[in-house]
């Protein structure tokens, strides 16, 4: 069942991104650089957030099922549920950095259209890689919970397998951080 959800949630995320791109492309002059930059920061949170919400959600369902049968396994399935949750935090982190870079906490925002687009695109690697990797990582976590249920002593292997997917969220995060800090020209 979850298999189909991965595809549809990916589509939801990409449609969201497309809407923002279209808005920016056609109404950029009206909206201004500030709006574009804020849209980018929002997308980083929302895209990776969707991935993590769905991922942690389905993983939690299965974790609860396993805990119901063997309460002792709670400590083993909890980290597996938590793993697809990091992407949402990475997205939040990127949005926060972007806000600091824009001086959003310091007063008035005065970004040009070009700067707005720069922030927008700098936020995307974390958002998109977070969306996809959280969904697929949740799939591996679900399978890892079978390890935890059937061979409790081997559940660490499930965590490592799940972490393999997260690599790409980490790379997306790193790219966004570097882009915001060094490439964005504010």
């Amino acid at each position: 069942m979850f298999k189909g959800m991965v595809g549809s949630w990916t589509v939801v995320g990409i449609v969201l991104l497309a809407v923002c791109l279209v808005l920016g492309a056609f109404f950029g002059e009206v909206l201004g650089g500030n709006a574009l930059a804020l849209m980018g920061a929002g997308l980083a949170v929302v895209l990776s957030g969707i991935g993590s919400i769905v991922g942690v959600g389905v993983a939690g369902e299965k974790a609860a099922g396993i805990t119901a049968e063997e309460p002792e396994n709670f400590g083993r399935v909890l980290p597996l549920q938590a793993l697809p949750g990091t992407q949402g935090i990475y997205g939040f982190l990127v949005a926060f950095l972007a806000l600091i870079k824009m001086n959003a906490f310091g007063g008035v925002l005065t970004l040009t259209l070009e700067q707005g687009w720069q922030v927008f695109f700098a936020c995307l690697p974390a958002g998109l890689s977070g969306l996809m990797s959280a969904l697929y990582q949740a799939k591996v976590s679900l399978a890892g919970m079978d390890i935890a249920a059937q061979k409790p002593d081997e559940s660490g292997k499930g965590m490592i397998l799940s972490a393999m997917v997260e690599t790409y969220a980490v790379l997306g995060l790193l790219t966004s951080i570097l882009l915001i800090m060094f490439a964005v020209n504010i």
């Binding site: 935090i89 926060f96 965590m159 972490a163 690599t167």
Partner: protein, 661 residues
């Protein structure tokens, strides 16, 4: 040696000794018993030992399972919050265990549990039924005729009925020969007592046609409470039912109280479950032994250093023969890791991947420093490190763990986290800068900082990659040493040694090109290494014409090493993640103070505690799995084979309880 030497042990004994011998082996807990290589050669051992009937433990275990689930409704064993994570088992003293085995009447308790269970479900059903009846009678309490009298007589049909309230004004009810009295009205419905003169031709129930015209329904309350009609008026019937109800409830309470008392024995049930599981386990192991007509052959492995102890333990048996020998080349010898106490906790990391096989190196001492370092760098906050170490230390002290390697590992990793945090100036993120600006603490913490990951990530990226190069380089060295030790000196030096020389040469050459170092020595080292790399590429190629191509093609391996090294960028990313989230938490706290003023100072401890704990929990998890991954994927792929069977000596089964003296 990091992997314990084993002796292959074969025990020959008379068959009569079978039961006591296996019990002794279990109590000694020193021998990993394997399936006998001579099993089933003389006769079919399964046939000899096929039990005519199912063994006792099968029946007992199923009875115990029923009793256990019944008793658990009363939940008499308290578990602490942490027990959910540690899987800690309740303690049972050996004397209680012994007493339970000798005296606990499992079939008796089982029968009682079954009886009580059935009784309880009957009573519960009855109570629900009576409560429903009471509810039904409730509105009719003001009826002043005994319920039993409301019935048809020869000429008159009386009944209770429910009609819509609007129908009460109907002419039909006022017509001659019809008599009614409203007992209750509620929500557009009315309950009435109705008497209809049936005339001279009493066919069926005369009131029915009237009720049909009114849109009402005839109620037969009397039939519902037949057993209680003698009580008379509805109020009296209700009282009678209530009396019966309280009787039933009392009966139920008595059973529940008895059960709660019986359930105090849950611990005994758990201990007995282990006792019979142990019997089952011994029975299974016994079937693996080899047999001839009169003798029993038990095979397995014992740690070499435990051999004397093992012989001593079995010295009570006069007529057995114990042979111990060096394990053969092709045998799957079980593996027991033996490391220095400081390295020991890191065995938990090795165990996640799987054990090394008996004939290779134990990777634990090699991965230990790197895992320790990487974890610290990824988490990278001094206060988090202190919290992690203190928590693990407290946990080990108070929780009495069976295997404390993992918690000790976290404690050590806390130290490297403190170190990394101090060097990068991260103390609860930028807490000293945000809240303690200008104080001594701020000066001390900032004076210790060498690098700033947030403002100067490029330097840390290079540091991360440099650690990666060293890690991979060490991995190749381990492979080289292992290969040479295994007797393949040429292969070790040329195939692996070539990279050991070439890679640092490449790095040094790159550094001198970039102007970081002046010396050009790197070029020569690299050249020497490159020659060896080409030799290793050509060496294994049979065709003389293909040799040059293979030699050059060998350099393609650089791509693999390069992508391995890039993977270490995650160290920087994770470090930034935990550092910046710490900053975010502090910034939000400051914003709250700015917005709320004095009240803010009341709120921020909550925000700070919640935020930093969340950051610590999530990033500690991330640091652990990613440091682990760097070992398993990047490091182990250079030298590690794995596939070893862990050494699991025959011991008493302790699945549900842990026995104490």
């Amino acid at each position: 040696m990091a992997i314990a030497r084993m002796r292959k042990v074969t025990i020959l004994a008379y068959e009569e000794l079978e039961a006591p011998l296996f019990e002794k082996l279990r109590d000694a807990g020193l021998m990993h018993v394997t399936k006998s290589t001579v099993a089933g050669t003389e006769e079919q051992p399964e046939e000899i030992h096929t039990h005519a009937e199912t063994p006792e433990y099968v029946k007992r275990l199923s009875q115990l399972a029923v009793i256990k689930s019944y008793f658990e409704r009363y939940n008499t064993i308290k578990k602490s919050f942490f027990d959910m994570f540690t899987g800690k088992k309740p303690d049972v003293s050996y004397s209680r265990f012994k007493n339970a085995v000798d005296t606990y009447d499992i079939p008796g308790v089982f029968d009682k549990v079954k009886e009580h269970d059935e009784m309880l479900s009957r009573i519960t059903e009855r109570i629900a039924d009576l409560e429903q009846k009471l509810q039904m009678l409730e509105p009719w309490r003001s009826l002043d005729i005994p319920l039993g009298e409301v019935r048809e007589t020869r000429t008159c049909d009386t009944c209770l009925a429910m009609v819509p309230s609007v129908a009460l004004a109907s002419d039909a009810l006022a017509s001659p020969g019809v008599h009614h009295k409203v007992i209750w009205q509620d929500k557009g419905q009315a309950g009435i007592w109705l008497a209809v003169f049936a005339g001279e031709t009493p066919e069926g129930q005369a009131a029915n046609s009237l009720l049909a015209a009114l849109g009402g329904t005839r109620l037969n309350l009397a039939r519902e409470v037949e057993d209680y009609l003698e009580a008379g008026l509805v109020g009296d019937i209700c009282r009678a039912i209530e009396g019966r109800l309280s009787e039933l409830q009392e009966k139920r309470d008595t059973i529940l109280a008895k059960d709660a008392e019986m359930a105090q024995g849950l611990l005994d049930i758990l201990a007995l479950t282990d006792y019979y599981l142990d019997k089952q386990n011994l029975d299974r192991i016994r079937k693996e032994a080899g047999r001839t007509r009169f003798t029993l052959i038990v095979e397995g492995y014992v740690k070499a250093k435990d051999m004397d102890l093992f012989r001593g333990q079995l010295s009570g048996f006069a007529d057995i023969e114990i042979i111990d020998e060096e394990p053969g080349e092709a045998e799957d010898v079980p593996v027991y890791l033996e490391n220095h106490p400081i390295i020991r906790p890191f065995e938990a990391v090795t165990a996640i991947y799987g054990y090394p096989n008996y004939r290779e190196l134990d990777p634990t001492p090699w991965l230990a420093p790197f895992f320790w370092l990487f974890f610290g760098l990824c988490l990278g906050d001094a206060i988090y490190g202190i919290m992690l170490s203190l928590f693990s230390w407290w946990f080990i002290k108070t929780q009495n763990l069976e295997d404390e390697r993992f918690m000790r590992l976290l404690m050590y990793c806390g130290f490297s986290t403190i170190l990394a945090g101090a060097l990068t100036g991260s103390w609860f993120g930028d807490f000293p800068v945000q809240f303690l600006k200008g104080t001594v603490i701020e000066r001390i913490t900032s004076s210790m900082a060498v690098l700033d990951p947030v403002n100067d990530p490029m330097t840390l990226l290079l540091v991360s990659l440099a650690f990666g190069i060293v890690h991979i380089w060490v991995g190749i060295i381990v492979k080289m040493v292992g290969t040479i030790r295994g007797g393949n000196v040429v292969e070790g030096i040329i195939d692996h040694g070539s990279w050991v020389i070439f890679l640092p040469g490449l790095v040094l050459w790159g550094l001198s090109k970039a102007g970081v170092i002046q010396s050009g020595v790197g070029l020569y080292i690299m050249a020497a290494g490159a020659v060896l790399v080409m030799i290793s590429g050509a060496r294994n190629q049979k065709s003389i014409f293909m040799k040059p191509i293979s030699a050059v093609g060998k350099f393609y391996d650089i791509v693999g090493y390069f992508s391995d090294v890039l993977s270490y960028a995650r160290i920087l990313a994770l470090m930034l993640a935990s550092a910046i989230i710490g900053v975010v938490v502090n910034t939000i706290s400051r914003l709250v103070v700015d917005m709320l003023g004095g009240l803010g100072w009341v709120v921020i401890p909550v925000i700070l505690a919640f935020g930093h704990l969340l950051n610590l929990a999530i990033n500690a998890l991330g640091s652990f799995v990613h440091s682990g991954r760097l070992q398993f994927v990047e490091f182990f792929s250079k030298f590690f084979e794995g596939g070893g069977t862990p050494f699991r000596p025959l011991r008493r089964v302790k699945e549900n309880v842990s026995l104490t003296d």
